[in-house]
Amino acid sequence: MSEFYASAPIPIRDDLAAAHDRAWVRIGRPGTWWDGAQRVAIAAETRNAPSCALCRRRKEALSPAAIEGTHDSLSALPEIVVEIVHRVRTDPGRLSERWFRGIIPAGLSEEQYVETVSIVAHVVAIDTMARGLGIDEPALPQPQPGTPSRNRPYGAQLGGAWVPWLEPADLSEAEADLYPSGRPAANIMKAMSLVPDEVRGFFDVVSYQYQPPLAMRDFSREYRAISHAQIELLAARVSVLNQCLY
């Protein structure tokens, strides 16, 4: 039984608590392109972003690119990483390919970019749930020692997204478990496949915080305390509020 939400004032499903526990452990460990300290710093910066004055001014502006300035950061990460974390956290509905194409020449690899996005997404998923339920955000994990694995999948190539991804036909034996079998891989699963461990980690959270892949379209029974229709109404409303078509 997970102790992750042991002090929460309402009971959290144990499988969900355990998934969040695993996510936190992963964030503290060395990843593929960032070490444990850098990953925890990205998580901390994700929490700091909503208090950034530059992000607030950009959010209110007709175009975020029209507002120049320096982010209010925790000063633990390069400015370009802070820019990514803050923009993805505070104004995702106006991210553009032009903005993304400016990130890479500024000194960041596409692989580091994808891993950064994944860490931001993990923290947003867990912290937004905490806000919704009125419970405390979990304390960030302690960074663990070690070096990143720097494993770039051989078959990754540019497809339909801004970043290279892995098509199912290009998976090596090491990535054979990446996508569910028996149905096409959704683009949201391929999105972070340039860093396969982030797909595995994030979709571990997805399976428990939303539904497992095969349950999403199994309308013959309900898997949660709310129905498929209630789940999808929530999902759709959130996506419209975030101005996300996908």
């Binding site: 309402i10 009971p11 499903r13 990514i84 993805v88 956290r89 995702p92 509905g93 106006r94 991210l95 553009s96 390919e97 993304f100 996005v117 931001v120 997404a121 993990h122 947003v124 998923a125 912290d127 937004t128 749930m129 919704g132 339920l133 009125g134 339909g160 997204a161 959704a186 683009n187 949201i188 999105a191 972070m192 959270v205 997805v206 915080q209 939303y210 309308f219 013959s220 949660r224 305390a225 709310i226 498929h228 229709a229 209630q230 789940i231 999808e232 109404l233 929530l234 999902a235 759709a236 409303r237 959130v238 996506s239 419209v240 509020l241 975030n242 101005q243 996300c244 078509l245 996908y246």
Partner: protein, 116 residues
């Protein structure tokens, strides 16, 4: 799109305009209005509104339902960021299947390919 698929399976026509906030109804989903108000409050910045929305939803669907609702709101607040930050397009079959209601709801303006 899964909301519509769920409705087809159960022979129900959900009112998708509630998703855009164009109408304040429940979309034909049990406790739909409370769910939408909860999602809006979680993503908003008014703590009093959120407290009220949370309490109302919990009273209606119980604490286990509230936990699952909060989990879904949190998860999609994250998935949207993965989709938007990586610039993934809609899959061709989803694009075709959702063309009518995307047009009706006016959400194509959110397409990452249309952003400058």
């Amino acid at each position: 799109m899964l909301l519509r698929a769920s409705g087809v399976t159960h022979n129900r026509a959900y009112d998708l305009s509630a998703v855009t906030g164009a109408t304040p109804g429940d979309a034909g989903v049990p406790y739909g209005r409370l769910l939408v108000e909860f999602a809006e409050a979680v993503l908003g910045d008014d703590e009093e509104v959120l407290d009220h929305a949370r309490a109302a939803l919990s009273a209606a669907i119980g604490p286990a339902g509230l936990v699952d609702a909060g989990a879904v709101v949190g998860l999609f607040n994250a998935i949207d960021r993965v989709a938007d930050a990586t610039g993934i397009p809609l899959e061709a079959e989803k694009r075709e299947a959702s063309a009518d209601f995307r047009a009706a709801l006016g959400v194509d303006r959110f397409d990452v390919g249309a952003r400058d």
